[in-house]
Symmetry: C2
Amino acid sequence: MTEDLYELGSRVAESARVLSRASDAVRVAAVRAAASELRAGAPMILAANEKDLAHGRDAGLTQTALDRLRLDAARIEAMASGLETVAALSDPIGTVVSTDVRPNGLRVTRVRAPLGVVGVIYENRPNVTSDVAGLCVRSANAAFLRGSSSALASNQQIVAALQSGLAAVGLPREAIALVEDTSHETAIAFMRLHEVIDVLVPRGGPSLIASMREHATVPVILDGDGNCHVYIDKDADLDMAERIVVNAKTQRPGVCNAMESLVLHEEIAGPMLDRLGRAMPQVRLLGDQRAQALSSRVEPASDEDFAREFLDLISTVVVVPDLDAALAHIERFSSGHSEAIVTSNPDVAQRFLAEVDAAAVLHNASTRFVDGSELGLGAEVGISTQKLHARGPMGLEALTSIRWVIQGEGQIRS
Amino acid sequence: MTEDLYELGSRVAESARVLSRASDAVRVAAVRAAASELRAGAPMILAANEKDLAHGRDAGLTQTALDRLRLDAARIEAMASGLETVAALSDPIGTVVSTDVRPNGLRVTRVRAPLGVVGVIYENRPNVTSDVAGLCVRSANAAFLRGSSSALASNQQIVAALQSGLAAVGLPREAIALVEDTSHETAIAFMRLHEVIDVLVPRGGPSLIASMREHATVPVILDGDGNCHVYIDKDADLDMAERIVVNAKTQRPGVCNAMESLVLHEEIAGPMLDRLGRAMPQVRLLGDQRAQALSSRVEPASDEDFAREFLDLISTVVVVPDLDAALAHIERFSSGHSEAIVTSNPDVAQRFLAEVDAAAVLHNASTRFVDGSELGLGAEVGISTQKLHARGPMGLEALTSIRWVIQGEGQIRS
């Protein structure tokens, strides 16, 4: 199968070269056509999704996993309109990043260029297939996709629809390609295709990330865990704090930008725990001794708990004497995703925003906003928790590289 | 030794955190103080360099390698004044990359932040030690350096001087650190320190790059080979073409931005080969059959030759019927570093500049300009031949990441 993967990869790379020369108008038309084909293909996509769901039930997938896998007419419409949103974004390719004339007269310009082939390994949400493919084609990159086996039939139909969109405007179909062999062995081979793949975005849990660290030879952008903290300062508006904590923890607990850890200033810890007991009784709280002493609802937490991404209605809670202690706790346990403070004190907010080392830092806002659509990117390929190339939600710009264009009149170096 | 490396790494990471909070003024002062200490330490550095050179001669290093290793008063002064140039560059940290107010009132800003710990593996030029360390400290990053064994004594003295500069302004010495165990085993361990190193720049030959692909678990920016082409179009000014080719090939043949491959339009191939025979008789030419037919100086070339980075007074040469054939040859053999065209035809130039996929594309200028100093970066950490994060010469901006700063008034997600 590795042989087949390499051959498919070569065709994807060739398609990327064609795509890199396509005009903005053609790429916009391709993404729009893909949206139409997705709508037209909805019956086949839903039939394939039924098959995946049946296999999933037989294989004992959890209810949460089945929910993530499930498509319906509304979700397909959301995928199609998501593509139209991406089509309407302005072209990142050719954008001038900097321009300079050197003392010797050389004109030096840096312009945005496509990356080439973007590889993505992801789990069972089929909408990732169209989100990623749309962003890639819009930015003149080929999308080389390796979804999970549990969503294979759905992904095959979605990719077929998207490919029809490419074909409708005369672009090569394999600028969007799906790896249909979902074996672990092929995933490893995929991570090692550095002659084909210019960047790999692994969207998955710790075992995927460990495997990627061990085996990948292609450059990687890590879409890692979110152990997101919310720190409630002594000068917080407690109504606002309650609203933000409840939203960050319970609005969608299974996603990476949900709150997993609550840090309370000792002066407001008691009243906040009382409020949260009433406002989100369904959330289990695991805390340090001080939190346990303040509320009988708080069960003991271990260091492993403080480091965990629960993706569930569970949160850790610690009580701290001051901002320094809050910063130290966050520095120790942060996964570098999103960290928030609630305070009315601008100096305290400023220090928090300046000193916390994470992809996103928030003041008086829910961590749930750290998302490509919410932050104006239209959609996202993932949320980078590494510092290299892209950090936080990755939209079109994250799918570009730079070229130096140097124009002279015969200059030579002395 | 791996244990020691990990401990040293932890101290470097801790120093990076301190450095990330240092003001612009303190970082400027540190780099200036490092320049002074380098000048003051010149006698000790030169004595250490004598030792390295003696070992190198005993170990049978080539004359070229010894030249790269050798320091003298002028080279140390160049290192010190290089640091002063870097100190004078404007601070990249905190620069606002984009700013936006969302419909819900959230203020969203992206600001430049340090990467953290920058690891560099490099060969025997000791000036790399101060160039890299200066750029890192200027951009609030720690420099974790692993130079070659042949330059160990020189590097130890240089790093000691630079560390005195840090100490002089109250910054932790280990924001610049040298791995003194230069074994292969420790190099591998270094590539796997992903808990400490935020980005690794390997500056070296194919074996280092292969080893890095196999073993690295830290994110990498590849400083790869330069198989740089110069294409002489039929509409080129032949005087200019001759000047550029001679400069690109002979001004400093041992560096990555030297020309390695010449591509000649058939209409000017004969006269160009005659000119080059006179202008650079010392350069061996290996060519295709058409080039061989035009000049008795051209020896046969293999595909391996067309792909090779000679770093020597050797060049391949091919004769092509048109721009498409030139683009196809370059696409096949390019290492993605720097590719140049000489032509007076603006349409031909435009197509070349738009279609060639390399870090730098040049029109009517020598490939030798693809260099951090020449392009206005002050100095360079290396020249990236990958598309991720940074491409081409890497200066201060390449040593930064981004943070999203999101400010609200209690917004929650609905």
